[in-house]
Symmetry: C2
Subunit: 271 residues, 2 copies
DNA sequence: TTGCTCCTCACGTCACGTGAGGTGGC
DNA sequence: TTGCTCCTCACGTCACGTGAGGTGGC
């Protein structure tokens, strides 16, 4: 039989068979006078065993060991370990894939209704879209975009608890609270370019205003977020500025530092 | 911020970031005097969005479209289709992985108890092992190995119903029946090298003997197997010998053809 | 001075797929 | 003659990882 027939019998491709030959997985059969490979029953068996193992997730490199054709001495003991490692690997892939499936499903749902694709919860994403679209002043608009970006970072960091995001959605959905936060954002934006020393009182005022919005969230949020805030405050204290450093303006940076220090202080302070 | 800090903040590697730069997924940031890349907040956002999508199974090549930074006109409609295709893909991978998991689990179980790794049901594998190990005549031994190989092909073809394999296990487990089949195998093996014309009666006898074992299996097996047998008979009739051609001996091949013809005739004939 | 981070080629990984260019069989 | 299968390089895919060889910062 020729390579094409062998491939069909085994349910593979001619290319795959030649690949196995190059890897030495499947021995090269004798050739007929025209140079064609001529296969026998043993080759089909070997090929089907290879496909069986490969299809079960066994890497091609370890198939010789599995099939016992390697020159080995202690293969007996290793095999169990190999199989267990493979199983653990496949399990990990399964949970990862399940996660991807969920994420993709959510993306598709959001896109069918919402339009733009975003890692934020729908209400938050919609609220930010409105803010950005409805703003005519380019500076404030850029500020809103930056704020949305920051929230996306928080959401994607995987360390921000859902309750925190939900609470933010609630604030931004309620017209009164929303108006208040937008006013604070505007003041935050106006700080750009000012000397942190002269603007000290405004910096404190804006930071305190923001703290007043964040404080109740801290009460409901679980320990994950408290840990994160503590770490961030630690990093700021040690001079490792991480995210904060990415804010280009010094006065705005001062607000962020202030805010993080408040967050790290914990909920007790604000009761 | 430098590339290492960015990588840590986003939970990736420096290499991955440079990779995204090469692909044009993430724009090259300005450099500091020493040639180091200097990142800003927008880069972190972009990077985290990329990681989010990539982690959700979106291919890097389609991420620009998803993030809307591509110069496109009809991206709106395409996006839904893209996401749906991705979802279907992930689903397919999930079922494939689940299958691998099952196969690996069975392999591990079998290896923990049995020893050798085989695609055959345990009782069949064990029976063949006994046959092969207990045989001193090298020719008969080779014959048994070939027979085991054929059964593995049947099992791995995916077209052989489980009932058929189970029935074979039963035959090979029962001492009386097993003795009878082994005798038939020996006669089959003895046909090697004989002229099909002179050995005609022995060929028919061996084939009939084998048919007598296979016939009751046909009654219980579902239509899948009947289809397969019919196809095989068709192929033989058309001169496409497939598996049969791989038997090197002409007399033995005649037995196989005989057997397949009987199988394709269906169960009615033997009642 | 040591050790850590940064830089740029350039090649490796995994399991094949995809041409390119040519020959044999019906 | 046409179309199909076969052959051998040799490079492509995907998402990075891995050295190789060198420089800058503390």
């Amino acid at each position: 039989v020729k390579i094409g027939e062998l491939a069909e019998a085994a349910g593979t491709t001619v290319r795959a068979i030649r690949h196995y030959h190059r890897l030495g997985l499947l021995p090269e059969p004798p050739r007929s006078s025209n140079g064609y490979r001529v296969y026998a029953l043993e080759d089909l068996v070997r090929l089907m065993r290879i496909r069986w193992l490969a299809g079960s997730g066994v890497p091609l490199a370890s198939i010789p060991t599995m099939l016992g054709s390697a020159t080995d001495g202690d293969a007996r003991t290793d095999l169990t370990a190999d199989l267990e490692a493979l199983l653990a690997d496949v399990d990990a892939q399964l949970t990862a894939l399940a996660g991807k499936r969920r994420a993709l499903g959510a993306m598709l749902d959001g896109h069918r209704r919402g339009g733009a694709i975003s890692p934020l919860p729908e209400s938050l994403a919609a609220a930010f879209d409105e803010l950005v679209e409805g703003e005519d002043d380019p500076d404030t608009r850029a500020l809103f975009v930056r704020e949305r970006d920051s929230w996306e970072i928080l959401a994607l960091s995987g360390r921000t608890p859902q309750t925190y995001l939900d609470a933010a959605s609630a604030i931004v959905t309620d017209p009164v609270q929303r108006h208040a936060v937008v006013a604070l954002y505007r003041r935050f934006g106006a700080l750009a370019g000012r000397d942190p020393a002269t603007a000290r009182s405004e910096i404190d005022a804006v930071a305190d205003g923001l703290v007043r919005f964040v404080a109740p969230l801290l009460d409901t949020a679980d320990t994950l977020f408290a840990d994160w805030a503590a770490q961030a405050a630690d990093a700021v204290a040690r001079g490792e500025p991480l995210l904060v450093e990415m804010l280009p303006d010094p006065a705005q940076r001062a607000v962020a530092v202030h805010l993080i220090e408040h967050l790290a202080a914990g909920p007790e302070e604000h009761r």
